[in-house]
Symmetry: none
DNA sequence: CAAGTTTTTGCAATATTTTGCAGGATTATG
DNA sequence: CATAATCCTGCAAAATATTGCAAAAACTTG
């Protein structure tokens, strides 16, 4: 049983507003099993705190000029939670992680359990910030920040990666095709992903089903080189991958 | 059966809160076979220790504090707009900027006018993200991310700075005293600021009046080395600086 | 062990908060 | 304009909090 009190309800409502959903008083009254007036008063309170804009029938999120950076930083918006959980199960004990940029990896890292003495190495400033927030030591790979993928690239970055040896590399995905392998949108990023793969004992990829079977511009790694793919695809979609050696975990 | 004393009960309750569950006074009274008042007092004690947030009907876990940096990221919240404007007037045309971390510099960079072909070099992932959003090219200096100030530090970072020559360095401030000069909280950050100063033709500092006259732990630069200080202090407060050569702009 | 002290507990009287409801006012819509 | 939905206001009932107090339990000390 849950506490059904103004405080708790308002917290839930505020969360939903943050996620961009609108509140419909009628529905909420049913859901929380209280009268319309109670929901109305909750919304009134949220409005007083500046967390909601009241409209007829409910409330809508405050129109906030969110910069895309903050948007992406707000942990794992739209990333399948099952993928996040499964990946964390694989990497939470790893003392040294090499992490690529991307929304999926960002969502994973920002939910990483706190662990003393973990080191996260990354070319992505977003990942660096998220990892630091989770209490990890962070080594940021310097270089020119690529506009497309948001990771640093360039010769200096590549040469610093070549001096590194880590347990696990967690790579992001632009495209993943059974024949074409892992692919990247950008030439410089392709080189980075390849270098990260070389630097690690094992390479893990977490990706949503929408990326499966697609090809991005630059071929990066053959499927056989990948150690583990974690995805929410349905079993049919991974059939083409089964003839390769890669291990696939469905969630 | 366990000892049913305040200490034991409170330990159990604290554990449950840590696991994220809510405490419902009614249920607990039944479970521990004590009166509601006793449970209430337990919760009162937990609240005093900062382990619970009391609500009507029981208690809920302490709302985990939003990471301070992320909070402050919300563009320039709390930074004097006049300082931002004045600093932008000085740096908006500069083709190559070396930018230190910190809330003030972050607020400045995130309001920088869009300009083709500007390059921002920075050891701060926050600055890097903000600068990229403003359309600048970004070079991120790699290194270990310092927990205190949020900039990369270490030998690799220092040596990459030494290979750089830029027009303007925009430094953050921990303390600024007429005698002691510019100071930093952290030893590694001190080295970084010094290196950034050396790499630049001119060094600009933007700071709020609260930092004036204060000393942080590590002396970093004498006041005379600074080219320009932009601040919202009142004229009295900058009197002690007038005997040095530094130019001060009041806003 | 016994007397004194402190802690813990339950209870009762009194606030305070929360809730649902009834009525009249306001707004959207055809 | 008519109708229906929603909103606002005041109010009373229910649930929960707070306070003060006294009995019981546990601890301390000689």
């Amino acid at each position: 049983m849950n506490l059904n009190i103004p405080d708790t309800r308002q917290q839930v409502l505020a969360l939903r507003l943050d996620q961009g959903s609108q509140l419909i008083a009628q529905e909420l009254a049913l859901e929380f099993d209280v009268s319309l007036d109670t929901i109305r008063r909750d919304i009134l309170a949220l409005e007083a705190e500046g967390k909601a804009r009241r409209v007829r029938g409910g409330a809508v999120p405050i129109a906030k000029p969110v910069s895309p950076m903050l948007e992406r930083l707000s942990s794992g918006h739209g990333v399948n939670q099952a993928i996040i959980d499964a990946t964390i199960a694989h990497v939470s004990d790893v003392p040294t992680l090499l992490v690529d940029g991307g929304t999926t990896t960002l969502a994973i890292i920002s939910q990483l359990p706190k662990l003393d003495q973990r080191l996260v190495i990354t070319p992505s400033p977003w990942i660096a910030i998220a990892a630091q927030e989770r209490g990890s030591d962070v080594h940021l790979l310097g270089g020119n920040l690529s506009t497309s993928g948001g990771i640093t690239t360039g010769n200096t970055t590549l040469s610093s990666i070549n001096d590194i040896a880590v347990d696990v590399a967690l790579l992001g995905v632009c495209g993943l095709d059974p024949e074409f392998g892992l692919s990247a949108d950008d030439h410089a990023e392709m080189h980075m992903k390849q270098a990260m793969h070389r630097a690690a004992n094992s390479t893990i990829i977490a990706t949503e089903q929408s990326k499966l079977g697609t090809k991005a511009r630059h071929r990066t790694l053959p499927v056989d080189e990948i150690d583990l793919i974690i995805t929410d695809a349905n079993p049919d979609m991974i059939k083409p991958f089964e003839q390769s050696l890669v291990k696939i975990e469905l969630v």
